[in-house]
């Protein structure tokens, strides 16, 4: 076992990817005295996050990717027909060593988008057919991974999320019991430092079956609920909604819950308390929110974990049913900007792919001269899912004082389970603390409307131009009343929603880029329609004025359909990505229709674990990071046991 010159160190385990799963497994292995190498495709975790903060401050569009390297240019034309209008010119992924999916590239062609997907608007067609639509979630390729910009939401799945087939007759059951998952959640909540209260979550036991082991306590006290949460809670009091329009007698209570959060309500593991920067996404300026670099630091402190940055795995070599080595390219950029790379190989006893759902699938398909590995089930790359997101926004009749506190501190979780799940997606409703930032690009859009006499955010229909105190007063009344719901739906798994290798288009290292075929089925679109109705019912109950725009491009200019727009039952909708990429190497007990087992170990390859949200057979409505880490604890135990 060597890299060809006999001098490479001997590792017990090689891990591809330094994100949530990779770092946690590295930590557990390191604590157990195992020698670990992590290959991370992207650049190193910076010594200080100031450089990332500066990127964020100077970014024209403060998208999730904006703090991280290889961002768009910092100047843009305001001319609407210009290629760099509004956001600046995006770099061409074909010259980058580690291009990644970005929000600004959604709907763009291969000269701007790492993911190769159709660029046109959504197809219409009958309501039973799949709506082809761009996949709208994104990821990072840097040390620490995509969870640099997770929100911190640390919801657990509920029991029926694991038993969709046996309870509701749809999709698949998970190959893991809720009892076991609960124990793993406890470990994950301690590693992250989750702020929440079991007593506060108690009403969700009756509503959606959320339970905790007797005596369980979260490690940190809850994050206080925002004025927005308090206003929605009071305003929606007594609201109950239909879950299935064919069953109008079954009503579901709507109530607000404090959201368990992976951000500090008290100092924890040498990190400070949240100061309410309202910036969990794209970056917490003070690391009050846990992110994978915290766990990576602890892993490195064990003395047993070695990092190799700028190291892109390109082949997982399998012989005799086991991985024998991983081939990777180490890239550098010269002072002249020229990209060069050197091919290396490394061997170990066990291997872990933790590169996130799309890049894991890409690497598996790329291996063995593009014949693929670990894929006797033909499920690698399939069942790509997101918590497709429906956004609804309104002005409250009383000020809610958004743009303050963590991005979200509360949500309506009471609709996450019910017998309607045999017919349509369930959803949770996140309550935003950032006004119309996500929904309308505010405060920018509204401010410019009232300065320039436009009506892009729809609050200035007479296109007035204001200045001085009149401008302050007008904007204050709008900005302090803005709030939104973000409904995260449990999208159905579909084999045709698939990551494959593009046959011709490559990145700057010559590696094929991911081609995405993706769409929504009737089950998910029906959930969308119900989410829209439920948001409107909540606004009505509150006396709020709804401003939800059916599509991003309407009005103005009216160019339906744009990327992410679709029509269902004659109504227009717009889909946003939740940033939750799941399902490309699903877990199951049956090797003929799943890629990994309950420990995320490959069914086909003896010493290979494929980890992360790609393993989710169904996605429920809990934001995935907590579950990703819980499953990683199980994988780590399994790997350690296999090494002894």
């Amino acid at each position: 076992m060597s890299n060809g010159n006999g001098s490479s160190p001997q590792y017990d385990v090689v891990i591809v990817g330094a994100g949530v799963s990779g770092n946690l497994i590295a930590l557990q292995l390191g604590l157990a005295g195992k020698k670990v190498l992590i290959l991370e495709a992207g650049p190193a975790v910076p010594d200080s996050r100031e450089e990332y903060m500066e990127n964020f401050y100077l970014a024209l569009a403060k998208t999730p990717e904006s703090p991280y390297p290889a961002l768009a240019g910092r100047t843009a034309s305001l001319a609407k027909d210009s290629k760099n209008a509004g956001t600046g010119t995006l770099p061409d992924p074909s010259i980058l060593p580690t291009p990644r999916a970005t929000v600004l590239a959604i709907g763009k062609g291969a000269d701007q988008s790492h993911l190769i997907q159709p660029t046109g608007g959504a197809a219409t067609g009958n309501d039973q057919s799949m709506r082809k639509i761009p996949f709208s979630s994104t990821y990072e390729r840097v040390g620490g991974g995509t969870a640099w910009h997770w929100l911190g939401t640390s919801l657990r799945l509920v029991p029926h999320d694991l038993t969709m087939k046996s309870t509701y007759g749809v999709f698949h059951d998970w190959p893991i019991s809720y009892d076991e998952l609960q124990t793993l959640y406890g470990k994950a909540e301690r590693e992250i430092g989750v702020s929440a209260s079991v007593a506060q979550q108690a009403p969700l036991q009756q509503a959606i079956g959320l339970t905790y082991p007797a005596g369980y306590q979260y490690p940190l006290n809850p994050i206080p609920s925002s004025v927005v949460d308090q206003t929605v809670s009071t305003g929606t009091s007594g609201l109950a909604v239909v879950g299935d329009e064919d069953d109008e007698n079954t009503l579901y209570d709507v109530f607000v819950s404090n959201t368990p959060a992976g951000r500090n309500s008290e100092p924890y593991q040498d990190r400070r308390v949240c100061a309410g920067n309202t910036n969990c996404i794209p970056i917490c300026p003070i690391q009050a929110k846990w992110d994978p670099t915290v766990t990576l630091g602890k892993a490195l402190d064990t003395g047993n974990v070695t990092m190799s940055y700028q190291s892109v795995a390109v082949n997982v070599a399998v012989d005799g049913g086991n991985v024998t080595q991983i081939d990777y390219l180490v890239w550098t950029r010269g002072a002249d900007g020229k990209l060069t790379s050197e091919k290396k190989s490394v061997s170990a006893r066990k291997y872990v792919l933790a590169a996130h759902a799309i890049e894991n699938a890409k690497l598996l398909l790329l291996s063995n001269n593009k014949q693929g590995i670990a894929n006797s089930s033909d499920q690698v790359g399939r069942n790509l899912m997101d918590h497709v997101l429906y956004l609804a926004w309104a002005l409250s009749p009383t000020p809610v004082f958004g743009y303050r506190g963590p991005l979200a501190t509360g949500g309506i979780e009471s609709l996450r389970d019910g017998k309607f799940r045999s017919k349509r997606s369930a959803f949770r409703m996140e309550i935003g603390n950032e006004g119309w930032n996500f929904s309308a690009g505010d405060p920018y859009t509204t401010a410019l409307d009232w300065i320039q006499g436009t009506n892009n955010a729809q609050t200035n229909p007479s296109e007035q131009r204001l200045g001085g105190l009149a401008l302050v007063t007008q904007l204050n009344s709008l900005l302090t009343a803005q709030f939104r719901f973000g409904c995260l739906l449990d999208q159905s798994p579909q084999e045709c929603n698939q990551v494959t290798l593009d046959p011709t288009i490559t990145d700057g290292l010559g590696i094929p880029r991911p081609k995405i075929d993706y769409g929504l089925d009737e089950y998910t679109m029906e959930g969308f329609a119900m989410a829209a109705k439920t948001c409107s019912a909540a606004f009505t109950q509150m006396g709020a004025t709804e401003f939800t725009r059916p599509t991003v491009n309407e009005p103005p200019p009216n160019t339906f359909p744009g990327p992410g727009d679709f029509v269902y039952k004659g109504k227009k909708y717009h889909l946003y990505g939740a940033g939750h990429i799941m399902g490309t190497h699903r877990m199951g007990n049956d090797a003929s229709c799943s890629v990994v087992d309950a420990s995320q170990k490959s069914h086909d390859v003896g010493n290979l674990w494929i980890v992360g949200s790609g393993s989710f057979p169904t996605v429920g409505t809990a934001n995935p990071t907590l579950t990703i880490m819980a499953l990683a604890f199980k994988s780590a135990d399994n790997i350690i046991a296999s090494l002894s």
Binding site: S226, N277, F401, N433, A447, R465
Partner: protein
């Protein structure tokens, strides 16, 4: 605070006029935009930036227009310079819109007559972290909070505490 201009740079009184005009246009207190102790010195940064984009003559003309009416109530000054009742507004009024946007959003949105020669951009990280629209919302720039844990569970302080000239005068 009196500053000594670099040779050929704007005089202190010019910067003060620019700050006073900006205060009228934005609805904020002049002493908030240009405090006695002003380590970030955004007034001068913004003055120089506007000159670099729109040219010195346009800036001189605008400040002269302001000086001619500077004793009037702040709202009257803003309405006059912005030509709020005139359609379409003149190039000078469009420049005033860009100046408000610069203070409010920390970014340069070129006036329509300069499109093509002047590009949208965040002027500096300090221009972002000091941008005023967040004060208008009684909040803070996203990613730059000077508040402490839990503040979000209570209503904020009044607009005066955020630098707004709520009296409507100078």
């Amino acid at each position: 605070m009196t500053t000594t201009p670099a040779t050929g740079g704007p005089s202190d009184s010019t910067i003060q006029d620019f700050a006073d005009m900006s205060a009228a246009l934005t609805g904020f207190q002049s002493s908030f935009l240009r405090p006695f102790l002003d380590p970030t010195n955004l007034s001068e940064t913004f003055y120089n930036f506007v000159v670099s984009q729109a040219g010195q003559p346009a800036m001189d003309d605008l400040l002269n227009a302001f000086r001619a009416i500077k004793t009037q109530p702040a709202q009257k000054i803003a309405d006059t310079l912005l030509e709020v009742t005139t359609t379409p507004p003149s190039n000078q009024a469009l420049l005033c819109q860009s100046i408000i946007a610069m203070w409010y959003l920390g970014s340069w949105y070129p006036p329509a007559n300069l499109l093509g020669t002047s590009l949208q951009q965040v002027i500096s990280s300090q221009a972002y972290t000091k941008s005023l629209v967040w004060n208008v919302a009684q909040a803070h720039p996203m990613g730059f909070s000077a508040f402490t844990f839990g503040y979000w569970s209570n209503p904020p302080a009044s607009l005066d505490a955020f630098g707004v000239n709520t009296g409507g005068g100078k």
